[in-house]
């Protein structure tokens, strides 16, 4: 427990940090009705507020009609967000695992380099890293005459996986450091090599400890994928703006449109958060 807390491992958020197991059950049942109320309120405003609207090209639909009409497209965009988040998470976790282990390497240069890389990518803003990848990576890669196109969304995946990599590295390091040294010593006395000890003794025990912060990170990544709209990847938020333009750019539609996006993300991320909290309680290391 102590090492787990001292290592600046699961640092990207506040979820359950330092919270104790006997916390009172929080009544969160209100969250959903409240969001729905916000959605309905904005719809109502939009319905009554037509005086502000500019002359629309298309025949004027009510807000519910508009949302109903565009929901399939927006949900398609949301799926694209999920694809980006899954891709970035896969790449970031794969590389981050090695980065985390490299931070505990016995070779000093490897250790120092892994630490520097982790610190840089953990402390730089996600949006800037995304910009850097989208603008600086080539739009196609040429390998032995074979031209592989490298579209914007693939660059976005790379852009998101950089901070994920650093954060996963920290999660791995924190988890490995939280394993009691007795485990290492017993593995050693049983004749395991360092690699074998990692593979068969240490890492399997780490998975439990890494799962909650990893899921936290996934939820954060999913919410960050909307940043890709800023650099022009056609995900949910980009499609939202386009849908609004197609409806004649009625400004009173923007609130319900974005409220719809918010609700989608909430419905996806809230259960993940609850599940994470549950796992955190379940796997909590008793002192």
């Amino acid at each position: 427990m102590d090492v787990l807390h001292r290592a600046p491992a699961f640092t990207f958020d506040a979820f359950g940090n330092g919270s104790s197991s006997d916390q009172p059950p929080r009544s969160l049942s209100l969250a959903w009705p409240l969001l729905m109320a916000v959605l309905l309120a904005t719809m109502f405003f939009g319905l009554t507020d037509n005086g502000f609207a500019q002359a629309a090209v298309a025949p004027k639909r009510t807000i519910i009609e508009v949302l109903w009409r565009w929901a399939p497209l927006l949900l398609w965009g949301f799926c694209f967000n999920l694809v980006i988040s899954a891709g970035a998470m896969a790449v970031g976790t794969g590389v981050g695992l090695f980065l985390g282990l490299a931070q505990m390497s016995r070779t000093r240069p490897v250790r120092v380099m892994a630490n520097v890389i982790t610190e840089i990518f953990r402390n730089s803003p996600w949006l800037v890293l995304l910009f850097a990848c989208v603008l600086l990576l080539p739009f196609q890669i040429r390998i032995f005459g074979l031209v592989i196109p490298f579209p914007d969304w693939a660059k976005a995946i790379v852009g998101f996986s950089l901070p994920i990599m650093a954060n996963v590295g920290e999660v791995v390091r924190g988890a490995v450091l939280s394993i009691p040294t007795g485990q290492w010593e017993s593995a050693e006395s049983l004749g395991y090599t360092r690699t074998q000890a990692y593979l068969h003794v240490i890492l399997p025990q780490c998975i439990k400890r890494m799962l909650p912060p990893w899921m936290n990170l996934y939820s954060l990544v999913t919410m960050s994928t909307v940043n890709a709209s800023v650099v022009g990847v056609s995900e949910m938020i980009t499609l939202t703006a386009q849908a609004n333009a197609a409806e004649g750019s009625r400004p009173e539609l923007l609130a319900p449109f974005y409220a719809f996006d918010l609700v989608c993300f909430f419905l996806y991320c809230y259960p993940i958060g609850k599940w994470t909290e549950y796992l955190e309680r379940k796997y909590q290391v008793k002192i």
């Binding site: 958020d13 506040a14 916390q23 609130a255």
Partner: protein, 252 residues
């Protein structure tokens, strides 16, 4: 400073490394301005989010069930939705429904500027996290402290202000620090609603000069600098307000 500017111009002429935001007067002025807007955005949102956190954590211990539920709903709504969409929702969505007001020169302008919307939105976002952080800190304060204070005749508010909050603050300082660092890194979302902060200005410069690589490196360094500044400040605060026996390090 002229020799320095000349040297960077010379660097560009000889090597092609175009650090125009140093040697060009116009670009330097707007870069500095952008940096200070980022700083302003960071400082104000940090302060506001801390206020939201302290007040929210107090309200969360209220006797009124509905007040507690509203706070819980606020926390989970803001924690589980993307900050960028929150920003869009506030700026484009709600901004449209607010009345327009007359500014100093008598013109009709929106009630909140884009910078103000960014401050509001980001403060609420980070504030929701801060409430949770303070709550976990408050839970770590031993109940015997509260009982002792009650025995000494402190009121509920006095206990919160003078006993539990100061102790909780020391306990949760590490996770609070992480959240504030995150907040500083998130301020550049204001780019999306055209607040002329550091990233926005840099984007303007690299669009004009096509020196994306140099500007990108500069932006990253500037943010790393800001983050390290904040971390150093937090470490200093942690050292100054340290009470032996309270906090996370001494406990182990």
């Amino acid at each position: 400073m002229q020799p320095v500017y000349d040297w960077f111009r010379h660097l560009y002429d000889t090597t092609g490394i175009d650090l125009i935001f140093i040697y060009d007067n116009f670009d330097r002025a707007r870069t500095i301005k952008g940096f200070f807007i980022t700083l302003e955005l960071s400082v104000i949102t940090i302060i506001l989010s801390l206020i939201i956190g302290v007040v929210g954590a107090w309200l969360q211990r209220s006797h009124f069930v509905w007040l507690r539920r509203v706070i819980a709903a606020f926390i989970s709504a803001f924690r589980n939705t993307p900050p960028l969409v929150q920003l869009y929702f506030f700026y484009f969505g709600l901004g449209f429904f607010l009345p327009r007001v007359h500014d100093a020169s008598g013109q009709l302008v929106p009630m909140f500027s884009n910078l103000q919307w960014a401050i509001i939105s980001l403060s609420l976002f980070a504030g929701a996290f801060n409430i949770e952080i303070f709550r976990s800190g408050l839970e770590a304060v031993p109940s015997s402290m509260v009982e002792a204070a009650e025995g000494l005749g402190y009121s509920r508010f006095q206990i919160y202000r003078q006993i539990t909050l100061p102790l909780a603050f020391r306990v949760c300082l590490p996770s609070l620090g992480n959240n504030l660092v995150n907040l500083v890194k998130t301020t550049n979302l204001a780019y999306a609603i055209a607040v002329p902060e550091l990233l926005y200005v840099s984007q303007q410069i690299w669009s004009d000069e096509t020196n994306v690589r140099e500007m990108m490196a500069f932006v990253l360094c500037a943010y790393l600098f800001l983050v390290f500044l904040l971390v150093a400040l937090l470490n200093w605060i942690e050292r100054v307000i340290r009470v032996p026996g309270v906090g996370h390090m001494e406990a182990y």
